[in-house]
């Protein structure tokens, strides 16, 4: 994409500069209710804390069997204790969109 196109590219009010100063803007999608929320968190906040905030903003109760994944399917449950800095600097994920999903079943290979 050329610089001139990039300059005209629409954005959601955030910027990389804002991210550096104030922390990343995350999206949480609650799959069961098809709602989502976007909010900014500090770089020192853990993913678990951000997930808890998402439930509050969504007005949804957390369920014991809920799980968190990125929108490209990466399981985030082992990474809930990581800070945003650790998540993104250590490249555990590139995505800033997370999905809250309930349990489903299937077969292993």
């Amino acid at each position: 994409m050329s610089d001139s196109v990039l300059e005209k590219k629409p954005h959601d009010g955030g910027s990389e500069h804002d991210d550096d100063r104030h922390g990343p803007k995350l999206t949480f999608e609650h799959v069961a209710s098809v709602q989502d929320v976007k909010f900014r968190v500090s770089w020192n906040e853990t993913l678990q804390a951000a997930w808890n905030t998402a439930y509050e903003k969504l007005g949804e109760d957390s369920r014991a069997d809920d799980r968190l994944q990125t929108d490209d399917g990466v399981d985030m449950m082992p990474l809930l204790g990581k800070t945003m800095r650790q998540l993104f600097d250590d490249k555990h994920t590139k995505s800033r969109k997370f999905q809250i999903v309930g349990p489903t079943g299937g077969a292993q290979s």
């Binding site: 098809v34 299937g106 290979s109």
Partner: protein, 167 residues
């Protein structure tokens, strides 16, 4: 347990698909998501998957059909994007291979009869009378086609994704 096969209801499926699609899209469009809706019961979802081993991105095309929806999950099949069909064994390379994902698996020819995305969020899972835990049975009160897409996405994530099936 073996869950009963949901009953086909084309009228209900068309209405529920349209309703849920509008909720999912909000003010957006199908094009925003890269999706196609060729008719009132079908959604085509391109899926780009990072193939770390090959250093490339692989494209798959998922077809969801809603003729048993919402009481049952959508039918979900990977199809050949050139023919818009799936024919075994010619089209197996259009089916992703995943290994050891906890709750989904992709079979190009399950029991020598059907392509099966082995997840309780697909219609074919019930069609083949697959064993399922009661808590995983499709529940329209807390599941919708995004649940199906999210489950399939898990099988396409690293470290489970292993490239294409070989013909």
């Amino acid at each position: 347990m073996i869950a009963p096969m949901p009953v086909q209801d084309i009228h209900a499926g068309r209405e529920a698909f349209q309703r849920d699609l509008q909720v999912v899209l909000k003010e957006g469009t199908l094009a925003d998501r890269g999706w196609l809706k060729p008719d009132g019961l079908t959604l085509l979802v391109p899926m780009l998957v990072e193939n770390a081993a090959q250093g490339q991105v692989d494209l798959y095309l998922l077809r969801l059909m809603f003729d048993h929806y919402p009481k049952g999950p959508p039918s979900a099949q990977f199809i050949n994007p050139l023919t818009m069909n799936y024919k075994f064994p010619d089209d197996v390379l259009w089916v992703p291979k995943c290994e050891n994902a906890p709750d989904v698996h992709f079979h190009p020819n399950y029991n020598n009869c059907v392509q099966l995305i082995c997840s309780s969020t697909t219609l074919e899972f019930y069609r083949v009378n697959h064993d399922v835990k009661p808590e995983h049975v499709w529940d329209p009160q807390r599941m919708n086609f995004l649940t199906t897409l999210a489950a399939i996405r898990r099988g396409l994530a690293s470290p489970y994704y292993k490239g294409r099936w070989a013909p």
